[in-house]
Structures are given as structure tokens and as C-alpha cells.
Amino acid sequence: MNLAAQDIRHNLARFGLTACGIGLLLMIVLGMGGIYRGLVYEATLLVDRVNADLWVVQRNTRGPFAEVSSVPANVENRVLAVPGVASSRRFVYWTLQREVAGRPLRLAIQGLVWPYDNGAWLPLAAGHPLGQAHYEMVADRSLGLQLGERVKLGKDFYTVVGVTHGMTSASGDGMAFFSLPDAQAIQFDEPGEAIRLQRNTRVAQMQAQDIGQQQPALLTRVSGLTANLPALLPPTVSAVLVKLSPGADAQAVINTIQGWPDLTVYTSDQQRDLLVHGFVDRSRRQLGLFRAILVVVSTIIMTLILYTLTLDKTHDIAMLKLMGARNRVIVGLILQQALLLGAIGYGLAALLGHWLFPLFPRRVVITTPDFWLLAVVVAGIAVFASLLGIWKAMRISPNTVLS
């Protein structure tokens, strides 16, 4: 006869509610780990998906995900001339927030170098990659945009032609993919009044100089389109992505590009490390601490519950002792209840997590080793939590029956 099981059957509602409470706590413990893994996954998602060997960024910066990186667009061509480079492409990435249909829409925008890159590598859930150079976009499902929906960004409308699944930025914002010129048009969009003021400023500056006085045609030129001014470079990009030729010496390519004083090069692994150890590190430590506190709280709660359950059975334990029950019978009663409580709590945590985590606004990634680790932790908590109850039970005298 299993005394622990009989006791639980007798106090099923109480035990069930307790197990539910423990289960919810353990679900949060499990979720904390999952949120951290989700952060890492999201942070490195783009680096993993764009399939570049090298990231060429502004000198002494850590790349577009860590800080503002701005490199001239023509670096794409400079890099292509380096022996060992198979291809290079511009990379534009930034986050914007607009109001669409009366609700805030936060987008992480990436520009695709059409027609070499139309986003065929994106994990599409519906629709198709970009089919033309302008006015199309591929949006992640988390943005809530529908296939065929038209969204006004800057001065133009963009039609959603594809919907991806699970493409989020390091900060958890849904990603949207445009052709690179469209992305830059959105990025550098300015109100007409601002453009007019810029042009007037340029004209005024030109008039203040001798050359402006001597060559009035220049005044006409500076009052025109910014893109037509030969003295100004085209808009910069965030980085240039490099794909190496098969068998190419990566270090040699890096050394060559690093030799240029305006650029820094990272391998994909380095870019990944920068994200994980820089961008996610504080979150990791924060979540880790919170998780540790939750484990301690769970342990304390389980300890108190088991201690209370033991106190409730003081008289019964005394009776068992009076009948000559060995210590292992008493220890077994408490320990089995602790382990059962832990096991039910663990099962509930896993079940509830399975249902609830996908509903969280940010990705929660739970791996099989996480489940195993939690099982071991819960077993440890259960054993530890039962110690106080066991200690109390061992101190109960058979004489207590008479009181």
C-alpha cells in the first residue's frame, strides 16, 4: 500500500491546486529559459539567413545590429575587386515606426539588392518573393499585414506580395523586405518643406561664396535634386555582404579589406558573437537572475507546502511510529509526495508552456535539453523541499498519539 498515494487521493483537491501553483511557477522558470533562447534566435536569425561569409561595416563599428554603421554604397564594387570574393551586395537595415490604419506599425526594414536578391531565401508562408524593382514588399506575419494589402511608407504605396513566418529582428520587431532603392527611399524620405529648406540653404551658402557669385549656373544646380549634385555621394548603406569564392582564403580577403582605413570586416561567426555577447548579454543575465530567483521561490514554496502537509499528518505519523513503522516508511511518505508534487507540477508546466508560449508576443524557444534540465532541477527541488518535512517527521514522538 502506498501511503503517499492514499493521502493524495484523500486530499485530491488541495493537492491538485498546490500542484497547479507549482506548475505555473515551473512554467515561468521554463519560459525564462525559452525567452532567452528566443532572444538569441531572433538576434542571430538575420545573420544566419542572409548567408554571407563576411560583413563589411564602417570602420571601428560593430555592424548594423549593434550601432549605426554607414558605408558608401560603392564599397560593394570595391570589395568585388578583391581576389577571392565571389559576390558582394549592399545591406540596408534599420527600424521605423509608422501609423498604418490607425495603429502603430513597427518594422525592421531590410533592403534587397534587386534583381540579384529578390528574397527567394525568405521563409514564405504565403505569396511570393519580390517580383519587380519597386513598390513591392515582403512582410512578416507578426506585422499583421495581409497579402495584397497596400501600405503607404514615405511618399509611396507598397503592396505586400509575400508573407514570411518567423522573420523578426533582434529586438523582436517583424521584418519587412523591400528592394534596396525602395528601402532607401523610405529611409531617407523627407517632407517637401524640409527639402525646399535644404535647397534654399544650399543656394544661400553658394551665394555667400565667390564661386556662386562668379558662376550663377551653379546656383541653379544646387537648387535642384540632391541626387544630381556631383559633389554629394549617393545614400550610404548599413553594410556590404561578401560571399567568398569556393576555396578562397578568407583571412587573406579580410586582411585586404581591413587594410582600407574606412572599413572593418567581420566573419558571420564574429557578427553572431557580437550580437549574442553584446546585444543579448544583458538580457541573458537579467533572465538568468530572474530564473534563479524563481527556482529559489519554487523551492521555498514547495518546502512550506510539504512542511505543512507533514504538520497536518503529525498525529498519523506518530501513530505509524507507535505501530513500529521504520523511518523509511515515514521518509518514503513525504519524499514520494514531494516527488509526485514536482512531477505533476513539471507536467503541467510543460503542458501549459506548450499551449501558452506560442501566444507570447516574442519568440519562446524551448529545446528538449531544456525539458530534461528542468526535470532534473524539479527532482532536486522536490528532494530538497522534502528535507524540512522529513526532519520534522523524524522529530515526532510516538507519544504524540496520546496528546
Partner: protein, 249 residues
């Protein structure tokens, strides 16, 4: 019967039992030089006013509250010498002593049958045999039909019968009962007392019953009385004679 020694040896022999609580100015002598011999099959009533030391004597004999001085022998086997245990007390209680109290003290999360069964399983009887034996005992005590009921669902008398069945489960050589009928009405109280006599006579166990119920004293083979920690007398009263007469007829 679960007795290791010669059946002719007494179920219990206690010599010079003394129990002193505290020391110096706070010293209280709860039991003073008490000697008692209980034969197998003998049912003894232990009387006395509150504070006389009855429960102290009973707990000392039950090996749950060791005496300060004196010796206890059970079934011919020395068990206590002063406060020093000569055997594993828990194991000895498990095999040789049964307890019944004023309250039945049934374990509330076990049904009546399981309350008896657990005493057997504690003594290493296999669960199936323990279940069978528990049912037999409950049949013997007339509560077999209540075996699957939780203690809450039993009357006071039924609970006490289950407690007696539990006390008998391992066929002890000594049964100690502390006011087992205090919570019962006169009729049911007498039934329980007669049950002790039946058990003692049929199974050869020595039985000591602490009681205040003078109406059922005729059930006992012997009545002993305690006062101020001492056994006042060990009379062989008329009731005992009646018992002897019943035995001879």
C-alpha cells in the same frame, strides 16, 4: 501468537518501574516502584484517579516512554533496564505490542481495511496477505462490511473495533488500551471491553486496560489500582472468581 519465548512465561513482567520528570525542585515522581505481572490470556483493568500515573505506566510498558528505573521483560525477553533499551524498541512494538486509545486514532486517509492492513505491512507482511488477514480480523470483530469505508464514515464503536483489529493485526503478546471506551456509550463500551476479554482468552494475549468505567469491571480477570504513582493493590476481586468459575464450567 507472536511470542518468541516459552508459552508458560508471562506476557509481561515489570519490576520496580519508576518514572521521574524534571530534577531538583521541579522533580515529579509520576510512577514509583511499580511491579506488575500479566499472564497470557489475562485481562487487567487499571484504575485510578487522574494524575495517578496510569498513562505513564502504560506508555512505559508500551516502550514509548522509558522509565527512569526498573526492568521490563516481555515473553521472557528482557526489554528495558532502567531507561536503557535492550532491544530495538520500534521493531519490538511492531511485533509484540498492540495499542488502543480513547480515540481510535485511525489514519484518516486510509479506509478501515487499510488501517488494519498498514499495521501488517509495516511488519513486512506482503500486501495481498495483509489485505486478506485484515479482512479476517475485521470479520472476527464484526466490522468487515465497513472495510472500504473511511474512518469518518464509521460510528465511534465501529472505529474502536477497527482500532482493536489493528492492535491485533500482528498477533501481539500484549495489548495496551488507554480508556478505550471513554468516547462510547455504556452499551458499546461494554461491547468493546468484552471484545478485549474475547481476544485475550482466545488468542492468549495479555491485555491491560486503563478505564474509569466501573460498570464493566466484571469483564476483567483482575483489577489493579494506582494512586500517586504507586500500585495501590492488586486485588483478586469477585469478578475474577466468576471468570474462573466460567472457565471451569
Amino acid at each position: 501468537m507472536n511470542t518468541a519465548a516459552n508459552p508458560s512465561t508471562p506476557a509481561l513482567e515489570a519490576i520496580g518501574l519508576t518514572k521521574i520528570y524534571g530534577s531538583g525542585n521541579t522533580e515529579v515522581v509520576a510512577m514509583n516502584d511499580v511491579s506488575l505481572r500479566v499472564e497470557r490470556g489475562e485481562v487487567i483493568a487499571l484504575l485510578g484517579p487522574s494524575g495517578a500515573g496510569k498513562t505513564t505506566l502504560l506508555t512505559a510498558l508500551g516502550l514509548i516512554n522509558p522509565p527512569t528505573a526498573g526492568r521490563i521483560t516481555m515473553g521472557g525477553e528482557p526489554v528495558m533496564d532502567g531507561s536503557r533499551a535492550l532491544v530495538n524498541l520500534a521493531a519490538f512494538r511492531r511485533k509484540h505490542i498492540g495499542f488502543v486509545f480513547q480515540k481510535a486514532n485511525l489514519i484518516p486517509f486510509l479506509n478501515a481495511g487499510q488501517n488494519v492492513q498498514v499495521a501488517l505491512e509495516i511488519n513486512d507482511v506482503r500486501p495481498r496477505q495483509a489485505r486478506q488477514r485484515a479482512l479476517e480480523l475485521m470479520e472476527y470483530l464484526g466490522v468487515a462490511d465497513r472495510a472500504s469505508h473511511l474512518p469518518d464514515a464509521l460510528s465511534g464503536g465501529q472505529q474502536q473495533r477497527v482500532a482493536v483489529a489493528r492492535a491485533l493485526a500482528n498477533e501481539p503478546s500484549l495489548i495496551l488500551a488507554d480508556e478505550p471506551t471513554a468516547a462510547l456509550d455504556g452499551h458499546r463500551g461494554r461491547q468493546v471491553m468484552e471484545l478485549f476479554r474475547k481476544v485475550a482468552h482466545e488468542r492468549g494475549a495479555g491485555v491491560i486496560v486503563v478505564t474509569h468505567d466501573h460498570r464493566a469491571l466484571d469483564v476483567f480477570d483482575r483489577v489493579v489500582e494506582m494512586e500517586d504513582g504507586r500500585l495501590k493493590s492488586t486485588p483478586t476481586n469477585g469478578l475474577n472468581t466468576k471468570t474462573q468459575e466460567r472457565k471451569t464450567t
